[in-house]
């Protein structure tokens, strides 16, 4: 009988479980993190190569408009949130490396007037700049869904998987 083997990112030792990050959620640490099915949402990772620590958030909308209940859900609250969480662990802004994926427009007919994906992407770029954080790489836009795996313990490696099964490193 064939036994199903769970696909582990980069054949990591299976001693640490991958944290699944849902919409509006975030995690900080050195364990593997993953977020699936980004459409117009943004998967933002921040990594400190000195401390080998990182954070990941799954952002849905550009502006919080004063809402504080789910800071991971909005760009304008999620970026400071991650910066503060990493700072509390001793990370310095200038050593943090950020990467983003997502910001797509899945439905062309609806997307054209609202363009949430594009607005999310633009807002993240602005906020990162304001916090003096380097945006090292991005895979954004288009009409394609993306899943992101983040491995802080493996040099902060970020890989992207698409619906057609292709994957690439960011």
């Amino acid at each position: 009988m064939i036994k199903a083997v769970p696909v582990m990112p980069d054949h990591q030792p299976q001693n640490e479980q991958t944290a699944m990050i849902g919409i509006g959620e975030y995690r900080v640490g050195s364990f593997p993190m993953m977020t699936i099915g980004l459409g117009s949402c943004i998967g933002l990772t921040m990594y400190d190569p000195n401390l080998k620590l990182g954070a990941m958030v799954h952002i849905m909308l550009p502006e919080s408009a004063g809402r504080m209940d789910r800071p991971g859900k909005y760009v304008d609250t999620a970026v400071p949130l991650l910066v503060n969480e990493l700072a509390a662990l001793g990370c310095k802004n200038r050593s943090i490396v950020a990467k983003i994926a997502g910001g797509a427009c899945m439905f062309e007919y609806f997307g054209t007037n609202l363009n949430i994906g594009e607005r999310n992407t633009e807002k993240v770029r602005i906020l990162l700049k304001e916090h003096h954080i380097q945006l090292a790489a991005e895979d954004v836009g288009g009409k394609v869904g993306r899943s992101v795996t983040f491995l802080p313990a493996n040099d902060g490696k970020v890989s992207i998987r698409r619906a057609d099964g292709t994957s690439s490193n960011l």
Binding site: G22, I36, G37, C105, F107, R161
Partner: protein
Amino acid sequence: MKLSTVQADAIQELGNIGAAHAATTLSQMLGSTIEMSVPAIKVIDLSQLGKYMGEESAAMVAFELQGDIPHGGYILFYITRESAVRMTNTMLGMTEINRPLSEMDQSALLEVGNIMVSAFLDATAELLGFVMLPSPPALTIDMAHAAMQSLIAQMQEETNEVLLFSTELTCEEYKIDSDIIMMPERSTLVKIIALLENMVNTS
């Protein structure tokens, strides 16, 4: 968002009537029998959406709910990629399963979605005396979660949870598995519930 048993039952009945009409049109288009599940109502926290829809590749034809409420939410026809191929094969007289979805497949999917969702909304409008019209359709064939997430992000009313009512439509003969999923805005839902309660009370 908490629904009472009576409210949940009423919505389930509404979904039942809508989906039954949609199932009839699908049955006519395929010339085969369609099985329909009991409509399920799910209140899902956004962070948990991944538990309901994942990375699986699916075709989704989405419509905005318009009419008596201008931005009423969304309704969509969801079909797994494999089922989509089998369905268009049946309709277009083809047999190859391992193939990309062509432009012809895409227009067939749009058309099927259009006919089914229109039948669904016609039936609910007749029952409620409240008109919800479908916008022109938009199709995506990609990760289900990515498509659903994008629709939720563009809902008018900010919310941390969504209410989905979905009905599974399956065709055993051609092994086709699909869903009709309605995701109303909170205010639309309140309106629908009020209309249903009114009907129960006056009948």
